[in-house]
Amino acid sequence: MVDATFLALSVLTIGSAIAALEMRSLIYGSIALMGALGGVAGFFLLLDSPFVAMFQIAVYVGSIAVLILFTVMLVRRELIFTKVEDPRRRYAGIGLMLVLMVGLGSLVIDSGLKSVTADEPPIDFRLIGEDFLTYYWPALVLMALILAGSVTGALVLARREDVTDEQRAD
Protein backbone atom coordinates (compact mmCIF):
# COMPACT_ATOMS: atom_id res chain seq x y z
CA MET A 1 0.00 0.00 0.00
CA VAL A 2 2.76 2.39 1.00
CA ASP A 3 4.79 1.42 -2.05
CA ALA A 4 1.85 1.97 -4.37
CA THR A 5 1.12 5.36 -2.79
CA PHE A 6 4.79 6.29 -3.04
CA LEU A 7 4.89 5.34 -6.71
CA ALA A 8 1.70 7.26 -7.47
CA LEU A 9 2.98 10.32 -5.63
CA SER A 10 6.33 10.11 -7.44
CA VAL A 11 4.62 9.92 -10.82
CA LEU A 12 2.35 12.83 -9.88
CA THR A 13 5.16 15.00 -8.55
CA ILE A 14 7.72 14.38 -11.29
CA GLY A 15 5.09 14.37 -14.04
CA SER A 16 3.61 17.67 -12.99
CA ALA A 17 7.07 19.16 -12.47
CA ILE A 18 7.97 18.27 -16.07
CA ALA A 19 4.60 19.60 -17.21
CA ALA A 20 5.18 22.83 -15.29
CA LEU A 21 8.39 23.36 -17.24
CA GLU A 22 7.22 22.20 -20.64
CA MET A 23 3.68 23.59 -20.92
CA ARG A 24 3.27 26.42 -23.39
CA SER A 25 0.33 27.88 -21.46
CA LEU A 26 1.64 29.60 -18.36
CA ILE A 27 -1.64 29.16 -16.46
CA TYR A 28 -1.60 25.40 -17.00
CA GLY A 29 2.08 25.45 -16.09
CA SER A 30 1.30 27.02 -12.74
CA ILE A 31 -1.51 24.52 -12.16
CA ALA A 32 1.01 21.76 -12.82
CA LEU A 33 3.37 23.43 -10.37
CA MET A 34 0.58 23.23 -7.79
CA GLY A 35 0.34 19.52 -8.52
CA ALA A 36 4.08 19.09 -7.96
CA LEU A 37 3.99 21.00 -4.66
CA GLY A 38 0.92 19.06 -3.55
CA GLY A 39 2.77 15.83 -4.36
CA VAL A 40 5.58 16.94 -2.05
CA ALA A 41 2.94 17.48 0.66
CA GLY A 42 1.82 13.91 0.01
CA PHE A 43 5.40 12.71 0.59
CA PHE A 44 5.40 14.48 3.95
CA LEU A 45 2.12 12.75 4.84
CA LEU A 46 3.71 9.45 3.87
CA LEU A 47 6.65 10.24 6.18
CA ASP A 48 4.26 10.59 9.16
CA SER A 49 4.63 14.34 9.49
CA PRO A 50 1.18 15.82 8.83
CA PHE A 51 2.25 19.09 10.47
CA VAL A 52 4.80 19.81 7.75
CA ALA A 53 2.42 18.50 5.08
CA MET A 54 -0.33 20.92 6.11
CA PHE A 55 2.13 23.82 6.10
CA GLN A 56 3.38 22.71 2.70
CA ILE A 57 -0.19 22.87 1.36
CA ALA A 58 -1.09 26.11 3.13
CA VAL A 59 2.06 27.98 2.21
CA TYR A 60 3.18 26.57 -1.13
CA VAL A 61 -0.06 25.49 -2.79
CA GLY A 62 -2.24 28.07 -1.07
CA SER A 63 -0.08 31.17 -1.22
CA ILE A 64 2.95 30.86 -3.48
CA ALA A 65 1.01 29.24 -6.32
CA VAL A 66 -1.62 31.97 -6.04
CA LEU A 67 1.15 34.55 -6.24
CA ILE A 68 2.52 32.92 -9.39
CA LEU A 69 -0.97 32.69 -10.93
CA PHE A 70 -1.62 36.32 -10.12
CA THR A 71 1.65 37.42 -11.71
CA VAL A 72 1.04 35.32 -14.80
CA MET A 73 -2.43 36.76 -15.25
CA LEU A 74 -1.27 40.36 -14.91
CA VAL A 75 1.67 40.08 -17.30
CA ARG A 76 1.31 39.75 -21.06
CA ARG A 77 3.38 36.80 -22.06
CA GLU A 78 4.35 38.01 -25.51
CA LEU A 79 6.11 41.04 -24.12
CA ILE A 80 8.53 39.28 -21.80
CA PHE A 81 9.28 35.97 -23.43
CA THR A 82 10.98 35.28 -26.71
CA LYS A 83 10.80 31.68 -27.81
CA VAL A 84 14.19 30.05 -28.12
CA GLU A 85 13.82 26.60 -29.61
CA ASP A 86 17.19 24.98 -29.23
CA PRO A 87 17.38 21.17 -29.00
CA ARG A 88 20.92 21.26 -27.63
CA ARG A 89 19.79 23.21 -24.57
CA ARG A 90 17.03 20.71 -23.95
CA TYR A 91 19.43 17.75 -24.16
CA ALA A 92 21.86 19.56 -21.90
CA GLY A 93 19.07 20.08 -19.38
CA ILE A 94 18.06 16.43 -19.49
CA GLY A 95 21.70 15.41 -19.08
CA LEU A 96 22.15 17.74 -16.11
CA MET A 97 19.01 16.31 -14.53
CA LEU A 98 20.29 12.74 -14.99
CA VAL A 99 23.67 13.64 -13.46
CA LEU A 100 21.92 15.23 -10.49
CA MET A 101 19.62 12.26 -10.05
CA VAL A 102 22.48 9.76 -10.16
CA GLY A 103 24.49 11.84 -7.71
CA LEU A 104 21.64 12.26 -5.24
CA GLY A 105 20.63 8.61 -5.64
CA SER A 106 24.15 7.39 -4.87
CA LEU A 107 24.21 9.66 -1.82
CA VAL A 108 20.91 8.26 -0.56
CA ILE A 109 21.99 4.68 -1.17
CA ASP A 110 25.31 5.28 0.59
CA SER A 111 23.55 6.76 3.61
CA GLY A 112 22.32 3.32 4.66
CA LEU A 113 18.69 4.44 4.46
CA LYS A 114 17.34 1.42 2.60
CA SER A 115 13.95 0.75 4.11
CA VAL A 116 11.15 2.86 5.50
CA THR A 117 9.06 1.49 8.35
CA ALA A 118 5.39 2.07 7.71
CA ASP A 119 2.56 2.46 10.24
CA GLU A 120 4.57 4.58 12.65
CA PRO A 121 2.52 7.05 14.70
CA PRO A 122 2.64 10.60 13.33
CA ILE A 123 5.35 12.85 14.70
CA ASP A 124 3.99 15.04 17.47
CA PHE A 125 4.20 18.70 16.55
CA ARG A 126 4.60 19.61 20.24
CA LEU A 127 8.07 18.02 20.06
CA ILE A 128 8.92 20.29 17.13
CA GLY A 129 7.88 23.29 19.24
CA GLU A 130 9.91 22.08 22.19
CA ASP A 131 13.00 21.59 20.04
CA PHE A 132 12.59 25.06 18.60
CA LEU A 133 12.39 26.65 22.06
CA THR A 134 15.29 24.70 23.55
CA TYR A 135 18.00 23.42 21.22
CA TYR A 136 17.26 25.50 18.13
CA TRP A 137 16.44 28.79 19.87
CA PRO A 138 19.00 30.89 17.95
CA ALA A 139 17.45 29.77 14.69
CA LEU A 140 14.00 30.65 16.02
CA VAL A 141 15.10 34.14 17.08
CA LEU A 142 16.81 34.67 13.74
CA MET A 143 13.70 33.57 11.84
CA ALA A 144 11.51 35.83 13.95
CA LEU A 145 13.79 38.82 13.27
CA ILE A 146 13.89 38.14 9.53
CA LEU A 147 10.12 37.72 9.36
CA ALA A 148 9.46 40.85 11.42
CA GLY A 149 11.90 42.79 9.24
CA SER A 150 10.27 41.60 6.03
CA VAL A 151 6.74 42.37 7.27
CA THR A 152 7.80 45.86 8.34
CA GLY A 153 9.55 46.38 5.03
CA ALA A 154 6.49 45.24 3.09
CA LEU A 155 4.25 47.62 5.02
CA VAL A 156 6.69 50.51 4.51
CA LEU A 157 6.92 49.79 0.78
CA ALA A 158 3.14 49.48 0.46
CA ARG A 159 2.49 52.73 2.27
CA ARG A 160 3.98 55.21 -0.15
CA GLU A 161 3.35 58.81 0.72
CA ASP A 162 4.68 60.24 -2.54
CA VAL A 163 2.00 58.64 -4.72
CA THR A 164 -1.26 60.56 -4.68
CA ASP A 165 -4.39 58.51 -5.06
CA GLU A 166 -6.70 60.19 -7.53
CA GLN A 167 -9.60 57.90 -6.71
CA ARG A 168 -9.64 58.86 -3.07
CA ALA A 169 -11.98 61.71 -2.10
CA ASP A 170 -10.75 62.21 1.48
Binding site: P50, M54, A58, V61, G62, S63, V66, F70
Partner: protein
Protein backbone atom coordinates in the same frame (compact mmCIF):
# COMPACT_ATOMS: atom_id res chain seq x y z
CA UNK B 1 -51.69 26.94 -21.83
CA UNK B 2 -48.00 27.38 -21.47
CA UNK B 3 -45.89 28.59 -24.33
CA UNK B 4 -43.17 26.01 -23.84
CA UNK B 5 -45.43 22.99 -24.42
CA UNK B 6 -48.44 24.20 -26.41
CA UNK B 7 -49.84 20.73 -27.16
CA UNK B 8 -49.71 19.47 -23.62
CA UNK B 9 -52.41 17.00 -22.59
CA UNK B 10 -52.49 15.17 -19.29
CA UNK B 11 -53.37 11.98 -21.11
CA UNK B 12 -50.20 12.15 -23.23
CA UNK B 13 -48.16 12.76 -20.11
CA UNK B 14 -49.61 9.70 -18.33
CA UNK B 15 -49.14 7.60 -21.47
CA UNK B 16 -45.51 8.66 -21.67
CA UNK B 17 -44.99 7.74 -18.02
CA UNK B 18 -46.60 4.32 -18.49
CA UNK B 19 -44.48 3.73 -21.60
CA UNK B 20 -41.35 4.49 -19.66
CA UNK B 21 -42.36 2.15 -16.84
CA UNK B 22 -43.13 -0.61 -19.35
CA UNK B 23 -39.74 -0.31 -21.02
CA UNK B 24 -37.96 -0.15 -17.67
CA UNK B 25 -39.62 -3.39 -16.56
CA UNK B 26 -38.90 -5.12 -19.87
CA UNK B 27 -35.26 -4.07 -19.93
CA UNK B 28 -34.74 -5.00 -16.28
CA UNK B 29 -36.11 -8.53 -16.78
CA UNK B 30 -34.39 -9.17 -20.10
CA UNK B 31 -31.04 -7.50 -19.44
CA UNK B 32 -30.71 -6.14 -15.90
CA UNK B 33 -31.36 -9.23 -13.80
CA UNK B 34 -29.21 -11.56 -15.99
CA UNK B 35 -26.41 -8.99 -15.84
CA UNK B 36 -26.62 -8.88 -12.03
CA UNK B 37 -26.60 -12.71 -11.94
CA UNK B 38 -23.50 -12.84 -14.11
CA UNK B 39 -21.85 -10.18 -11.96
CA UNK B 40 -22.59 -12.15 -8.79
CA UNK B 41 -20.33 -14.97 -10.01
CA UNK B 42 -17.33 -12.72 -9.75
CA UNK B 43 -18.00 -10.98 -6.41
CA UNK B 44 -16.84 -12.39 -3.09
CA UNK B 45 -19.94 -12.06 -0.96
CA UNK B 46 -19.41 -11.49 2.77
CA UNK B 47 -20.23 -14.28 5.20
CA UNK B 48 -22.34 -13.19 8.18
CA UNK B 49 -23.29 -15.72 10.89
CA UNK B 50 -22.16 -18.61 8.73
CA UNK B 51 -24.42 -17.58 5.85
CA UNK B 52 -23.33 -16.09 2.57
CA UNK B 53 -24.94 -12.67 2.25
CA UNK B 54 -26.56 -13.06 -1.16
CA UNK B 55 -28.76 -10.23 -2.42
CA UNK B 56 -31.82 -12.35 -1.68
CA UNK B 57 -30.73 -12.79 1.93
CA UNK B 58 -29.97 -9.07 2.16
CA UNK B 59 -33.48 -8.23 0.93
CA UNK B 60 -34.97 -10.70 3.40
CA UNK B 61 -33.06 -9.12 6.27
CA UNK B 62 -34.09 -5.66 5.22
CA UNK B 63 -37.74 -6.52 5.79
CA UNK B 64 -37.05 -7.85 9.29
CA UNK B 65 -36.31 -5.03 11.77
CA UNK B 66 -34.42 -7.33 14.13
CA UNK B 67 -32.06 -8.19 11.30
CA UNK B 68 -31.86 -4.81 9.61
CA UNK B 69 -31.22 -2.60 12.65
CA UNK B 70 -27.73 -4.07 13.29
CA UNK B 71 -27.01 -3.78 9.56
CA UNK B 72 -28.06 -0.12 9.60
CA UNK B 73 -25.98 0.42 12.72
CA UNK B 74 -22.94 -1.16 11.12
CA UNK B 75 -23.52 0.88 7.97
CA UNK B 76 -23.60 4.09 10.00
CA UNK B 77 -20.10 3.36 11.27
CA UNK B 78 -18.66 3.06 7.77
CA UNK B 79 -16.54 5.78 6.26
CA UNK B 80 -18.90 6.08 3.32
CA UNK B 81 -21.84 7.00 5.53
CA UNK B 82 -19.74 9.43 7.53
CA UNK B 83 -18.45 11.20 4.44
CA UNK B 84 -21.66 11.18 2.42
CA UNK B 85 -24.38 11.49 5.00
CA UNK B 86 -24.21 12.31 8.66
CA UNK B 87 -21.40 14.49 9.87
CA UNK B 88 -20.22 15.12 6.35
CA UNK B 89 -21.65 16.26 3.05
CA UNK B 90 -25.35 15.37 3.36
CA UNK B 91 -25.76 16.98 6.78
CA UNK B 92 -23.92 20.10 5.66
CA UNK B 93 -25.88 20.32 2.41
CA UNK B 94 -29.17 19.97 4.27
CA UNK B 95 -28.24 22.77 6.65
CA UNK B 96 -26.97 24.84 3.72
CA UNK B 97 -30.28 24.40 1.89
CA UNK B 98 -32.14 25.45 5.01
CA UNK B 99 -29.89 28.49 5.27
CA UNK B 100 -30.70 29.58 1.71
CA UNK B 101 -34.44 29.49 2.42
CA UNK B 102 -34.17 31.16 5.83
CA UNK B 103 -31.95 33.84 4.34
CA UNK B 104 -34.44 34.74 1.62
CA UNK B 105 -37.39 34.72 3.99
CA UNK B 106 -35.62 36.63 6.76
CA UNK B 107 -34.22 39.22 4.39
CA UNK B 108 -37.70 39.76 3.00
CA UNK B 109 -39.12 40.29 6.49
CA UNK B 110 -36.32 42.74 7.30
CA UNK B 111 -37.11 44.75 4.18
CA UNK B 112 -40.91 44.53 4.66
CA UNK B 113 -41.38 42.23 1.66
CA UNK B 114 -43.08 38.85 1.51
CA UNK B 115 -40.29 36.75 0.05
CA UNK B 116 -40.88 33.29 -1.43
CA UNK B 117 -44.60 32.74 -1.03
CA UNK B 118 -46.33 30.56 -3.60
CA UNK B 119 -44.36 27.31 -3.90
CA UNK B 120 -45.75 24.71 -1.54
CA UNK B 121 -48.71 26.70 -0.20
CA UNK B 122 -47.23 27.31 3.28
CA UNK B 123 -44.97 30.40 3.13
CA UNK B 124 -43.17 29.17 0.02
CA UNK B 125 -41.56 26.24 1.79
CA UNK B 126 -40.93 24.34 -1.46
CA UNK B 127 -39.28 27.31 -3.22
CA UNK B 128 -35.84 25.80 -2.79
CA UNK B 129 -36.85 22.51 -4.36
CA UNK B 130 -38.36 24.29 -7.35
CA UNK B 131 -35.21 26.39 -7.72
CA UNK B 132 -33.14 23.21 -7.66
CA UNK B 133 -35.25 21.57 -10.35
CA UNK B 134 -35.09 24.75 -12.41
CA UNK B 135 -31.30 24.83 -12.20
CA UNK B 136 -31.05 21.12 -13.09
CA UNK B 137 -33.17 21.53 -16.19
CA UNK B 138 -31.48 24.68 -17.50
CA UNK B 139 -29.02 24.57 -20.31
CA UNK B 140 -25.36 24.96 -19.44
CA UNK B 141 -23.87 27.67 -21.63
CA UNK B 142 -20.10 27.91 -21.93
CA UNK B 143 -18.62 31.13 -23.30
CA UNK B 144 -17.17 30.56 -26.77
CA UNK B 145 -13.63 31.64 -25.93
CA UNK B 146 -13.57 30.14 -22.46
CA UNK B 147 -10.80 27.82 -21.32
CA UNK B 148 -13.12 24.83 -21.20
CA UNK B 149 -11.34 22.28 -18.94
CA UNK B 150 -10.79 24.73 -16.10
CA UNK B 151 -14.23 26.26 -16.56
CA UNK B 152 -15.92 22.86 -16.28
CA UNK B 153 -13.86 21.66 -13.34
CA UNK B 154 -13.99 24.85 -11.22
CA UNK B 155 -17.53 24.39 -9.76
CA UNK B 156 -16.80 20.75 -8.92
CA UNK B 157 -13.54 21.74 -7.22
CA UNK B 158 -15.35 24.47 -5.31
CA UNK B 159 -17.95 22.05 -3.94
CA UNK B 160 -15.27 19.45 -3.23
CA UNK B 161 -13.12 21.89 -1.28
CA UNK B 162 -16.13 23.09 0.70
CA UNK B 163 -17.04 19.47 1.48
CA UNK B 164 -13.47 18.79 2.62
CA UNK B 165 -13.82 21.76 4.96
CA UNK B 166 -17.15 20.41 6.28
CA UNK B 167 -15.55 17.01 6.95
CA UNK B 168 -13.20 18.54 9.55
CA UNK B 169 -15.94 20.02 11.75
CA UNK B 170 -16.80 17.86 14.80
CA UNK B 171 -20.57 17.78 15.32
CA UNK B 172 -20.83 15.64 18.46
CA UNK B 173 -18.46 13.50 20.56
CA UNK B 174 -16.65 11.11 18.21
CA UNK B 175 -18.91 12.25 15.34
CA UNK B 176 -16.51 13.75 12.84
CA UNK B 177 -15.38 12.52 9.45
CA UNK B 178 -11.67 13.28 9.82
CA UNK B 179 -10.48 13.52 13.41
CA UNK B 180 -6.87 14.42 12.75
CA UNK B 181 -4.22 15.76 15.10
CA UNK B 182 -3.59 18.89 13.05
CA UNK B 183 -7.24 19.69 12.36
CA UNK B 184 -6.92 23.46 12.61
CA UNK B 185 -3.90 23.48 10.29
CA UNK B 186 -5.88 21.36 7.83
CA UNK B 187 -8.61 24.00 7.97
CA UNK B 188 -6.05 26.69 7.07
CA UNK B 189 -4.70 24.53 4.26
CA UNK B 190 -8.19 23.99 2.81
CA UNK B 191 -9.17 27.66 3.10
CA UNK B 192 -6.13 28.43 0.95
CA UNK B 193 -7.66 26.57 -2.00
CA UNK B 194 -10.70 28.82 -2.36
CA UNK B 195 -8.88 31.84 -3.85
CA UNK B 196 -7.10 29.59 -6.38
CA UNK B 197 -10.35 28.06 -7.59
CA UNK B 198 -12.06 31.44 -7.69
CA UNK B 199 -9.35 33.16 -9.69
CA UNK B 200 -8.89 30.21 -12.07
CA UNK B 201 -12.61 29.98 -12.82
CA UNK B 202 -12.86 33.73 -13.31
CA UNK B 203 -9.85 33.71 -15.65
CA UNK B 204 -11.10 30.71 -17.61
CA UNK B 205 -14.43 32.38 -18.40
CA UNK B 206 -12.51 34.86 -20.57
CA UNK B 207 -14.97 37.61 -19.85
CA UNK B 208 -14.44 40.95 -18.19
CA UNK B 209 -16.89 40.92 -15.26
CA UNK B 210 -15.81 37.50 -13.95
CA UNK B 211 -12.18 38.54 -14.19
CA UNK B 212 -12.72 41.77 -12.23
CA UNK B 213 -14.69 39.81 -9.65
CA UNK B 214 -12.04 37.11 -9.46
CA UNK B 215 -9.22 39.59 -8.91
CA UNK B 216 -11.28 41.29 -6.21
CA UNK B 217 -11.97 37.90 -4.58
CA UNK B 218 -8.25 37.09 -4.68
CA UNK B 219 -7.29 40.36 -2.99
CA UNK B 220 -9.99 39.99 -0.39
CA UNK B 221 -9.47 36.32 0.48
CA UNK B 222 -5.67 36.46 0.58
CA UNK B 223 -5.57 39.54 2.78
CA UNK B 224 -8.25 38.33 5.18
CA UNK B 225 -6.67 34.90 5.55
CA UNK B 226 -3.92 36.48 7.68
CA UNK B 227 -6.16 37.95 10.44
CA UNK B 228 -8.32 34.81 10.20
CA UNK B 229 -5.35 32.57 11.03
CA UNK B 230 -3.81 34.95 13.59
CA UNK B 231 -7.08 35.38 15.47
CA UNK B 232 -7.29 31.63 16.09
CA UNK B 233 -3.79 31.39 17.53
CA UNK B 234 -5.09 32.65 20.90
CA UNK B 235 -7.29 29.56 21.23
CA UNK B 236 -4.37 27.32 20.21
CA UNK B 237 -2.12 28.95 22.83
CA UNK B 238 -4.71 28.42 25.57
CA UNK B 239 -5.58 24.82 24.69
CA UNK B 240 -2.18 23.61 23.50
CA UNK B 241 -3.71 21.46 20.77
CA UNK B 242 -4.71 21.70 17.14
CA UNK B 243 -7.29 18.90 17.25
CA UNK B 244 -10.76 20.43 16.94
CA UNK B 245 -12.43 17.76 19.12
CA UNK B 246 -9.92 18.40 21.91
CA UNK B 247 -10.51 22.14 21.58
CA UNK B 248 -14.22 21.52 22.14
CA UNK B 249 -13.54 19.27 25.13
CA UNK B 250 -11.38 21.99 26.69
CA UNK B 251 -14.44 24.29 26.87
CA UNK B 252 -16.47 22.18 29.28
CA UNK B 253 -16.66 24.93 31.91
CA UNK B 254 -15.95 28.17 30.03
CA UNK B 255 -16.31 29.07 26.38
CA UNK B 256 -13.26 30.73 24.89
CA UNK B 257 -15.34 33.69 23.75
CA UNK B 258 -15.49 34.70 27.43
CA UNK B 259 -11.69 35.12 27.52
CA UNK B 260 -10.95 36.01 23.89
CA UNK B 261 -13.77 38.28 22.73
CA UNK B 262 -11.35 40.28 20.57
CA UNK B 263 -10.26 37.16 18.70
CA UNK B 264 -13.87 36.10 18.21
CA UNK B 265 -14.81 39.48 16.73
CA UNK B 266 -11.78 39.51 14.41
CA UNK B 267 -12.51 35.95 13.33
CA UNK B 268 -16.15 36.80 12.67
CA UNK B 269 -15.27 39.79 10.47
CA UNK B 270 -12.59 37.86 8.59
CA UNK B 271 -15.11 35.05 8.16
CA UNK B 272 -17.60 37.45 6.55
CA UNK B 273 -14.89 38.55 4.14
CA UNK B 274 -13.84 34.98 3.31
CA UNK B 275 -17.47 34.05 2.65
CA UNK B 276 -18.00 37.09 0.42
CA UNK B 277 -21.05 38.12 2.44
CA UNK B 278 -22.39 41.65 2.55
CA UNK B 279 -20.80 44.07 3.55
CA UNK B 280 -17.76 42.39 1.94
CA UNK B 281 -19.42 40.96 -1.18
CA UNK B 282 -17.30 42.94 -3.64
CA UNK B 283 -16.43 39.85 -5.73
CA UNK B 284 -20.13 39.37 -6.48
CA UNK B 285 -21.23 43.00 -6.41
CA UNK B 286 -24.39 42.70 -8.47
CA UNK B 287 -24.92 46.44 -8.89
CA UNK B 288 -21.45 47.02 -10.36
CA UNK B 289 -20.13 43.91 -12.11
CA UNK B 290 -23.30 41.88 -12.88
CA UNK B 291 -22.60 38.85 -10.66
CA UNK B 292 -18.84 39.09 -10.26
CA UNK B 293 -16.96 35.86 -10.75
CA UNK B 294 -20.24 33.92 -11.07
CA UNK B 295 -21.42 35.86 -14.14
CA UNK B 296 -20.74 33.25 -16.80
CA UNK B 297 -21.94 30.23 -14.82
CA UNK B 298 -25.30 28.88 -15.85
CA UNK B 299 -27.58 26.01 -14.99
CA UNK B 300 -26.34 23.47 -12.50
CA UNK B 301 -22.80 24.84 -12.62
CA UNK B 302 -24.15 27.95 -10.91
CA UNK B 303 -26.13 25.68 -8.60
CA UNK B 304 -22.95 23.82 -7.62
CA UNK B 305 -21.10 27.05 -6.87
CA UNK B 306 -24.03 28.23 -4.73
CA UNK B 307 -24.11 24.88 -2.92
CA UNK B 308 -20.37 25.14 -2.33
CA UNK B 309 -20.56 28.65 -0.96
CA UNK B 310 -23.37 27.78 1.45
CA UNK B 311 -21.52 24.61 2.54
CA UNK B 312 -18.57 26.89 3.21
CA UNK B 313 -20.85 29.18 5.23
CA UNK B 314 -22.02 26.26 7.36
CA UNK B 315 -18.45 25.08 7.83
CA UNK B 316 -17.22 28.51 8.92
CA UNK B 317 -20.16 28.90 11.33
CA UNK B 318 -19.39 25.43 12.69
CA UNK B 319 -15.73 26.37 13.09
CA UNK B 320 -16.73 29.49 15.04
CA UNK B 321 -18.93 27.35 17.31
CA UNK B 322 -16.17 24.77 17.79
CA UNK B 323 -13.49 27.32 18.62
CA UNK B 324 -15.33 29.95 20.62
CA UNK B 325 -18.81 28.75 21.62
CA UNK B 326 -18.03 25.36 23.12
CA UNK B 327 -19.05 23.14 20.20
CA UNK B 328 -21.41 20.39 21.30
CA UNK B 329 -21.11 21.24 25.02
CA UNK B 330 -24.39 22.09 26.74
CA UNK B 331 -26.77 20.89 29.43
CA UNK B 332 -28.32 17.47 28.82
CA UNK B 333 -31.78 18.20 27.49
CA UNK B 334 -32.35 15.16 25.29
CA UNK B 335 -34.69 12.67 27.02
CA UNK B 336 -33.04 9.31 27.78
CA UNK B 337 -33.90 6.33 25.65
CA UNK B 338 -36.68 4.27 27.33
CA UNK B 339 -35.18 1.10 28.79
CA UNK B 340 -38.23 -1.10 28.23
CA UNK B 341 -37.79 -0.93 24.44
CA UNK B 342 -34.45 -2.69 24.83
CA UNK B 343 -35.70 -5.24 27.37
CA UNK B 344 -39.29 -5.88 26.27
CA UNK B 345 -39.47 -4.67 22.69
CA UNK B 346 -41.86 -2.38 20.88
CA UNK B 347 -45.57 -3.11 21.22
CA UNK B 348 -47.74 -1.96 18.34
CA UNK B 349 -51.29 -3.21 18.82
CA UNK B 350 -51.20 -7.02 19.00
CA UNK B 351 -47.62 -7.25 17.69
CA UNK B 352 -44.57 -7.09 19.95
CA UNK B 353 -41.22 -6.92 18.24
CA UNK B 354 -37.93 -7.51 20.01
CA UNK B 355 -35.41 -5.39 18.16
CA UNK B 356 -31.77 -5.82 19.15
CA UNK B 357 -29.33 -3.05 18.43
CA UNK B 358 -31.44 -0.19 19.67
CA UNK B 359 -30.84 2.67 20.37
CA UNK B 360 -29.28 3.74 17.09
CA UNK B 361 -27.71 6.89 18.55
CA UNK B 362 -26.41 7.47 22.05
CA UNK B 363 -28.00 10.16 24.18
CA UNK B 364 -24.73 12.16 24.34
CA UNK B 365 -24.47 12.23 20.57
CA UNK B 366 -28.04 13.41 20.02
CA UNK B 367 -27.72 16.05 22.73
CA UNK B 368 -24.38 17.23 21.34
CA UNK B 369 -25.77 17.41 17.81
CA UNK B 370 -28.77 19.39 19.06
CA UNK B 371 -26.60 21.96 20.84
CA UNK B 372 -24.20 22.17 17.93
CA UNK B 373 -27.05 22.82 15.48
CA UNK B 374 -28.63 25.42 17.77
CA UNK B 375 -25.35 27.32 18.20
CA UNK B 376 -24.50 27.03 14.50
CA UNK B 377 -27.94 28.37 13.59
CA UNK B 378 -27.37 31.32 15.91
CA UNK B 379 -23.98 32.09 14.31
CA UNK B 380 -25.47 31.72 10.82
CA UNK B 381 -28.20 34.18 11.83
CA UNK B 382 -25.54 36.73 12.70
CA UNK B 383 -23.77 36.05 9.40
CA UNK B 384 -27.02 36.61 7.47
CA UNK B 385 -28.12 39.67 9.42
CA UNK B 386 -25.64 42.24 7.96
CA UNK B 387 -27.07 41.56 4.51
CA UNK B 388 -30.26 43.36 5.47
CA UNK B 389 -28.51 46.12 7.40
CA UNK B 390 -25.22 47.26 5.86
CA UNK B 391 -24.28 48.62 2.46
CA UNK B 392 -21.28 47.26 0.53
CA UNK B 393 -17.96 48.92 1.38
CA UNK B 394 -15.27 50.05 -1.04
CA UNK B 395 -12.36 47.74 -1.87
CA UNK B 396 -9.64 50.08 -0.52
CA UNK B 397 -11.53 50.49 2.76
CA UNK B 398 -11.91 46.73 2.92
CA UNK B 399 -8.20 46.10 2.43
CA UNK B 400 -7.37 48.89 4.87
CA UNK B 401 -9.57 47.30 7.53
CA UNK B 402 -7.99 43.93 6.87
CA UNK B 403 -4.34 44.96 6.87
CA UNK B 404 -4.25 47.71 9.49
CA UNK B 405 -7.08 47.09 11.96
CA UNK B 406 -7.76 43.36 12.02
CA UNK B 407 -4.14 42.19 12.00
CA UNK B 408 -3.33 44.58 14.85
CA UNK B 409 -6.37 43.42 16.82
CA UNK B 410 -5.47 39.77 16.31
CA UNK B 411 -2.00 40.44 17.74
CA UNK B 412 -3.71 42.12 20.72
CA UNK B 413 -5.74 38.92 21.07
CA UNK B 414 -2.59 36.78 21.10
CA UNK B 415 -1.12 39.00 23.84
CA UNK B 416 -4.36 38.70 25.84
CA UNK B 417 -4.10 34.92 25.62
CA UNK B 418 -0.44 34.97 26.66
CA UNK B 419 -1.24 37.37 29.51
CA UNK B 420 -4.01 35.09 30.80
CA UNK B 421 -1.61 32.17 30.65
CA UNK B 422 1.31 33.89 32.39
CA UNK B 423 -0.91 35.60 35.00
CA UNK B 424 -2.08 32.15 36.02
CA UNK B 425 -5.75 32.80 35.28
CA UNK B 426 -5.84 29.91 32.82
CA UNK B 427 -3.49 27.00 32.33
CA UNK B 428 -2.17 24.39 34.75
CA UNK B 429 -2.60 26.39 37.98
CA UNK B 430 -5.59 28.46 36.90
CA UNK B 431 -9.36 28.09 37.07
CA UNK B 432 -9.64 25.52 34.34
Amino acid sequence: MSVIAPKFRLGYFIKALLDNIFWAVVLLTLAGIPAIMILLFYIDLPIIDGQILTPFLAFTWMTHPEMSVPLVKAFMQTDFFRIAAFPGFGFGALLAAGVIFVERKMLAKLQLRVGPFYCGKVEGILQLMSDGIKLLTKEIIIPAKADKPIFWVAPLLFVGTAAAFVSLIPVAPKTVVADIDVGLLAVFAIIGFFPIITVLSSWSANSKYPFIGGIRALHQMISFEIPLILSLLGVVILTGTLNLSEIVESQATYWWIAFLPVGAIVFFIAMLAELERIPFDLPEAESEIVAGWLTEFSGMMYGLVQLGSYLKLYAFAGLFVVLFLGGWQGPMVWPPFPEEIVTEGITMGPVTAQIPGLPLFSQEMLNGTLWFILKTAAVIFFILLPRGVFPRIRIDLLLHVGWYRLIGLSFVNIFIALGLLYAGVLGPEGIL
